[in-house]
């Protein structure tokens, strides 16, 4: 059983804007019978203001696919094309309260249909199928391109192959592309890290430094300390000298100094800058 929010159930049971707009200004289609879900979105656009005046959908799929489609039509109505094009799958999921992780691809389908509908409008109204670039298809079972995976990884901060499957379906059938997905993840997440390091720690403003240290604490350090029932917080930062307070089981632990120096300081040095020093606050 899925833990659907009341909002998901409401939009599933009472879907808004079902149907197809006659002589639509834009028609976006995504998915197929084979995939198990599909969405056809039609929009009516005011040519002067580029405001989406009406939107309707037809969906083949599960409760969350229907709810995501219904919510999407509600969200785009009244928005300009420019505003609507900024809607992400996370916005759709947030508007529904939340979606189970395994169902996030339903919200991605909404985002893709909208993208196709807007392109359709720009191209004179001829229906546009959301297409993956054929030469860069990673998952052949669900026809998912490298571009789509990169977009999902960036937008949703995906970390594992399983995450990518939940959001894009890629890798969810035969699984042969899982190694390729991992490579894309490594590339994208590696690039994200590289971008952050490009500007050296010394050049960052004090706020940027605090954020950078906090990020490493959250992602690399606290999860490990949490396993022993402890944690750590950033107290002060001056130049490259970081003051950390150990809390929980870590405070008063006889290994506190080793934790500070051998683990926290070393990790910060590896991730940010070799000259960082860590002292107990």
């Amino acid at each position: 059983m899925w833990d659907y929010t009341d909002k998901v159930m409401d939009h599933f049971k009472n879907p808004r804007n079902v149907g197809a707009i006659e002589n639509a200004d834009g028609t976006g289609q995504v998915g197929s019978l084979i995939c198990g879900d599909a969405l056809r979105l039609t929009i009516k656009v005011n040519k002067e203001t580029e405001i989406i005046e009406d939107a309707k959908f037809e969906t083949f799929g599960c409760a969350s696919a229907i709810a995501s489609s219904s919510m999407l039509t509600e969200m785009v109505k009244g928005k300009t094309l420019e505003e609507a094009s900024k809607i992400t799958n996370q916005d759709i999921a947030d508007a529904l309260g939340s979606l189970p992780a395994e169902k996030m691809h339903c919200s991605v389908m909404g985002m893709e249909a909208l993208d196709a509908a807007i392109r359709s409008y720009r191209q004179g109204g001829k229906p546009v199928e959301f297409e993956q670039q054929e030469e860069k298809i990673v998952c052949r079972c669900f026809n998912v391109s490298e571009e789509a995976i990169i977009k999902a990884v960036r937008l949703n901060h995906l970390k594992t192959v399983e995450d990518v499957t939940h959001f894009t379906k890629a890798g969810g059938a035969c699984g042969r592309c899982k190694a390729d997905i991992q490579k894309i993840l490594d590339k994208v997440n590696g690039m994200v890290q590289a971008a952050a390091v490009q500007k050296s720690f010394n050049e960052l403003t004090i706020v940027e430094k605090i954020k950078a240290v906090e990020k490493v604490l959250e992602e690399e350090i606290r999860p490990k300390l949490n396993m022993d029932g402890g944690s750590a917080e950033l107290v002060d930062l001056s130049g490259n000298a970081v003051k950390i307070r150990l809390i929980g089981m870590c405070s008063g632990c006889i290994n506190a100094q080793a934790t500070l120096k051998n683990f926290i300081e070393k990790t910060l040095q590896e991730k940010l800058d070799k000259s960082i020093t860590v002292e107990q606050a």
Partner: protein, 390 residues
């Protein structure tokens, strides 16, 4: 509101008579059946009585051919890993493409460890391909493991013929009879099975107890070791209350096979199926309609998705299940429907109704009343339904 429970292939209600039989063995007669004192030792009699009841249900020649396990998954794993252990020179196993994961996954594990495993195909009605079996079996085949009846479609496999082919090539034959037990007569002697797995909760017994039939003389290497129980074939302190439970459930199941319960259930299943086919267009029955267990119907509703149907049925407390991708959290429709090459526009919209002898005319009438508008409603949203004839 009472549940209209039509998901008996998933699990069944543990009958009150079964619970009643089990209860004394929790807090009153809690002794260890292996103990020397009468208080514990007398529970041995309860276990042996249950073994006899279980042997009767499948017509085993000897009671000691029954080993109690924790579930049918354990029974299946035991047989497959036993074959791997007992026949190191015969690294070939044959099974079917539509087995339950409890057989498929251990087979794939053995495959990854170097065993050759063949998965026999089925046709579009889910029927087993005996010719393919004959073409693949050879003197390196140690075990053929094919289910008696399929859990999703109810299709019954020709286990007797399969056993004959296996034995002609010196292989042992195992059958996962989880979905057959209690629904159709099982006779291990007539079929010449070497191993057979069952699970109590599929025939109105408790969850957490299963049985494995091991024919006397069939080579078997224990899966669980660490005790003398079950004649050293399955170690671990006997789960007396649950063993009593599976015994009682087996006794009741045997009675139901001849007292008219099964015929009544089959009539209701047929009424449901015919009613749906008459009331709703673009539906497809999955499985071998001529050769099915009497409680199961698997119906596909074209151009809509199974989870959506189930969620609407749930509003009326109607419990069923689906082979659609979305219900399982996987992304593909069931491997059984894919093996049968059910077209995608139907595979995603499959619903399995599985009855028990407790279902009533009123249950079926409710489904026949509520289901057509649900299907109509979902098809009105579906972009494919209007285009279906284009």
């Amino acid at each position: 509101m009472k549940e209209v429970y039509l998901d008996n292939n998933a699990t069944t209600r543990c009958y009150p008579q079964v619970v009643e039989a089990m209860l004394p063995y929790f807090s009153d007669k809690y002794g260890n059946a292996s103990s020397m004192h009468t208080f514990g030792g007398q529970n041995r009699h309860a276990i042996e009585a249950a073994r006899h009841q279980m042997a009767e249900l499948i017509n085993a020649a000897y009671d000691d051919e029954i080993i109690f396990t924790s579930c049918a998954t354990e029974s299946n794993d035991s047989v497959l890993f036993s074959a791997a252990e007992a026949f190191p020179d015969k690294k070939h196993i044959i099974t079917s493409a539509v087995e339950h994961p409890a057989v498929l996954e251990p087979c794939r594990l053995l495959e990854s460890r170097g065993w050759r495993v063949d998965f026999i195909r089925v046709d579009e009605n889910g029927r087993f391909d005996l010719e393919e079996l004959k073409s693949l079996i050879d003197d390196k085949t140690s075990l053929v493991s094919v289910m008696w009846a399929n859990n999703e479609t109810g299709t019954i496999f020709p286990v007797k013929e399969i056993a004959k082919i296996a034995h002609a090539h010196g292989a042992l034959f195992h059958t996962d009879a989880v979905q057959a037990a209690g629904k159709i007569p099982i006779d291990v002697q007539e079929v010449c099975a070497d191993f057979l797995s069952v699970s109590a909760h599929k025939f109105h017994g408790p969850k957490g107890i299963g049985a494995l039939y091991v024919r006397r003389g069939a080579r078997f290497v224990p899966y669980l070791v660490g005790g003398h129980q079950e004649k050293h074939r399955r170690a671990g302190t006997e789960n007396v209350p649950y063993i009593v439970g599976i015994g009682k459930a087996a006794e009741l199941a045997k009675k139901r096979l001849t007292d008219g319960s099964i015929q009544k259930m089959a009539a209701l299943r047929d009424k449901l199926e015919k009613g749906i086919v008459a009331a709703i267009a673009d539906v497809k029955i999955n499985g071998d309609a001529q050769n099915r267990v009497p409680n199961t119907t698997n119906i596909s509703f074209g151009y809509i998705e199974g989870e959506s149907i189930l969620m609407y049925l749930n509003d009326f407390h109607i419990c069923a299940s689906s082979g659609s991708a979305c219900t399982s959290g996987s992304l593909e429709p069931s491997h059984v429907l894919r093996a049968m090459k059910v077209p995608f526009e139907f595979a995603h919209g499959s619903i399995r109704f599985s009855l028990s002898d407790e279902n009533t005319e009123a249950d079926i009438d409710l489904v026949l009343k509520e289901l057509p508008p649900i299907v109509e409603r979902l098809r009105a949203i579906s972009p494919f339904y209007k285009q279906r004839s284009l």
